[in-house]
């Protein structure tokens, strides 16, 4: 007995993290976890599907596909030559034993093609499959668009399926609740109007323990920068607001945060296909900045919010580009260092790896800026493979993590490829992943935990706050 235990221990010790991931994946299969994907229940989906009628299904599908969509969608459907070359781009496909139903084109076949072939006459069960594909098996990460020889925008096609699902009332419950929060409160997390300024004041107080002069200037008209965050920050990552305040303060910038709704730059309505609500959220965000007459909006380290404010929401409102200049934190931090506004006390003692969020690389090409900052802060970035604009998605983005607990196991297991990618870094002795996106943190944390990777995640802001000189700070 003890022999066996020793033997097991010795084997475990000799295991690389990559082998550990493979072993865990094999165990997951034995445990039937992959097989359970088809049995997942979601109240929002299931009750919504139970209410569907054939007339509603057909009129909704055709209303969107023929009414809202036009020549672009038609061109995508007609141009696709079914070559399958998009498959290798998708982490869902790669993580599910290359099951073709998870390939990008496979998912289009299961949704859009099916709807077109049947002139919108889907059964409720087919509608269920469509919403599950669109909301839980695709992160709209656009990696497939970058791999398609025709540049077919599959994310746009899947977004259209989400739009149809939203109009059918079959969106998964958790993300629908989040979108409802947006619609009611103009923020993602049901943060009440008085809780927000309270939180800012609380974080200012916290910050002043360290830097007595610290202020979080609220509603300062004419400031150079308006800093906006996603609602999960006041809700459960509050220290990030404090950290940002310290960075703004130490860089000597004229900045502000808005007191009124519009402070939240996030947008789950964009990911449920509720574009009307998306438009309201974005309008309020731009307008709060305009009413403060700031020069720029600086966004916290969030990918999807950046996509929403920089790329998607503005279009819905008829703006070719955002009506007010906006920069993601990556670009903002890089600029602060280039201008010499921030000085470092010390460097992070280890080498790190950098996980690029889809929305800041394929959405804005900020990979080099990210590395510039991360290299300054640490002993250097060791690249994971693939990296930069070809990086695999975290499988949390695109609203997938927001579909909540029912879908968590599927989400983690459907990104085994990411676990392998990270394990290869861990096997090289890299313990820390820098990633400037909230969703990526959420997704990677779950993957690290499930596969036992023992790695730590950092925002750029975490490292800057930790390592920068703070001349006005109270000595400890």
């Amino acid at each position: 007995m003890s022999d066996t235990a020793e033997h097991t221990e010795a084997t475990e010790a000799a295991q690389t993290f990559l082998e550990k991931v493979h072993a865990k994946a094999a165990q997951d299969k034995v445990d039937g976890k992959y097989a359970e994907f088809d049995k997942i229940k979601d109240v929002g989906v299931d009750q919504g599907v139970a209410r569907l009628t054939p007339e509603k299904i057909q009129s909704t599908i055709n209303g969107v596909l023929k009414g809202e969509c036009g020549a672009r969608m038609k061109a995508y459907v007609e141009t696709c030559v079914h070559c399958g070359l998009c498959s290798e781009a998708c982490h869902h496909y790669l993580s599910n034993d290359k099951d073709p139903k998870y390939s990008p084109v496979g998912k289009v076949k299961r949704t859009i093609w099916n709807m077109l072939d049947k002139d919108g006459k889907l059964t409720p069960e087919e509608c269920r499959e469509a919403v599950i594909v669109a909301q839980t098996e695709c992160n709209l990460c656009r990696r497939c668009q970058q791999f398609c020889p025709f540049g077919i925008d599959i994310a746009y096609m899947i977004t259209t399926v989400r739009r149809i699902s939203f109009k059918l009332g079959i969106t998964p419950q958790y993300i629908q609740d989040t979108a409802n929060s947006h619609a009611v409160t103009m923020n993602q997390m049901w943060v009440k109007d008085d809780e927000w300024p309270d939180t800012l004041q609380w974080q200012e107080d916290e910050g002043r323990d360290e830097i007595p002069r610290l202020r979080i200037p609220v509603d300062k008209v004419g400031a150079d920068f308006m800093y906006s965050v996603i609602a999960p920050e006041p809700k459960f990552r509050t220290h990030l607001i404090n950290q940002a305040a310290v960075i703004f303060d130490q860089a000597g910038l004229n900045w502000t945060m808005p007191q009124l709704p519009g402070w939240d730059n996030s947008d789950m309505a964009m990911f449920t296909g509720d574009f009307e609500t998306m438009g309201r959220i974005k309008k309020m965000h731009y307008e709060v900045a305009q009413s403060l007459r700031v020069k720029k909006i600086v966004m916290g380290e969030c990918g999807h919010a950046f996509r929403s404010v920089y790329d998607v929401g503005n279009r819905w409102l008829g703006w070719r580009m955002p009506p007010i200049e906006m920069v993601h934190s990556i670009e903002f931090f890089a600029q602060l260092f280039r201008e010499g506004r921030l000085k470092l006390r010390e460097k992070f003692p280890e080498k790190v790896t950098f996980h690029d969020p889809c929305n800041t690389v394929r959405g804005r090409g900020l990979h080099e800026d990210g590395r510039y900052v991360a290299n300054l802060l640490t002993q250097g970035v060791v690249e994971m493979d693939p990296n930069k604009l070809y990086n695999y998605c975290c499988n949390a983005g695109g609203g997938v993590i927001n579909c909540g607990p029912p879908w968590k196991t599927k989400r983690v297991l459907s990104n085994k490829i990411k676990a392998e990618q990270l394990a290869r870094m861990k096997d090289q002795g890299i313990n820390t992943i820098v990633s400037p996106c909230h969703n990526c943190h959420g997704g990677l944390e779950d993957i690290i935990h499930h596969y036992g990777l023992e790695m730590e995640l950092k925002f750029l802001g975490d490292l800057i706050y930790e390592l920068m000189e703070k001349p006005g700070a109270v000595e400890e």
Partner: protein, 220 residues
Amino acid sequence: MHAFYNLVSGPLVWVAAAIFLGGSFWKVYSLLSGTKKKDGYVFEYWSWGDAIKSYIHWLLPFMSENSRQQPVMSVITFLAHLGIVLVPIFTMGHLVLLEEGILGWSWMALPGQVADIAAWIVIAGCCFFAYRRLVLPQVKFVTSCSDFVILVIVAAPFITGVMAYHGWGDNLLMTSLHMFSGEIMLAAIPFTKLSHMLTFWYTRGYTASEFGAVRKVCDW
């Protein structure tokens, strides 16, 4: 047989050419006018510089990440597409017919042997594409019967052309079949998946414009 030859070498040539040209015009026109109607942003964001860079990266092998990851497919698809476009335009027999029949002038033809090899490459390419459709699960899953019909439509003029060139089989029959299958292919372009020849420039160009001009990142 002569009647068939006369048909395919006479009126059907004109019919096929008219369907190809008219159909292509209709295809492009309806795409652009439809875009103007509901997807006007495509024109708004269109950036020729980014589009042209993207065309080059995606038309030549190994210039995109995906192409580098799929070396065999990249080489075969590049050569096959090159052959499909160039062989019909630069084959001696075609040029002679064009010069005598309509244009009155001509351009340099490919040496017969080169055209022959290129035609074989196209045929081999079609076989390879069919193999992918039959064997690779991710391709098989999205393949329908019409995808094989397209391959047959494309391969047929090249197979019959090679047979006619080498004098395999009854020459008049082969030449007639070659003309007929070529006419079918030409006429099929605007109305089948072969229309990707026309729509590639639109889908690729728009993606390049969004990536390059809005998101400041390359799309290859």
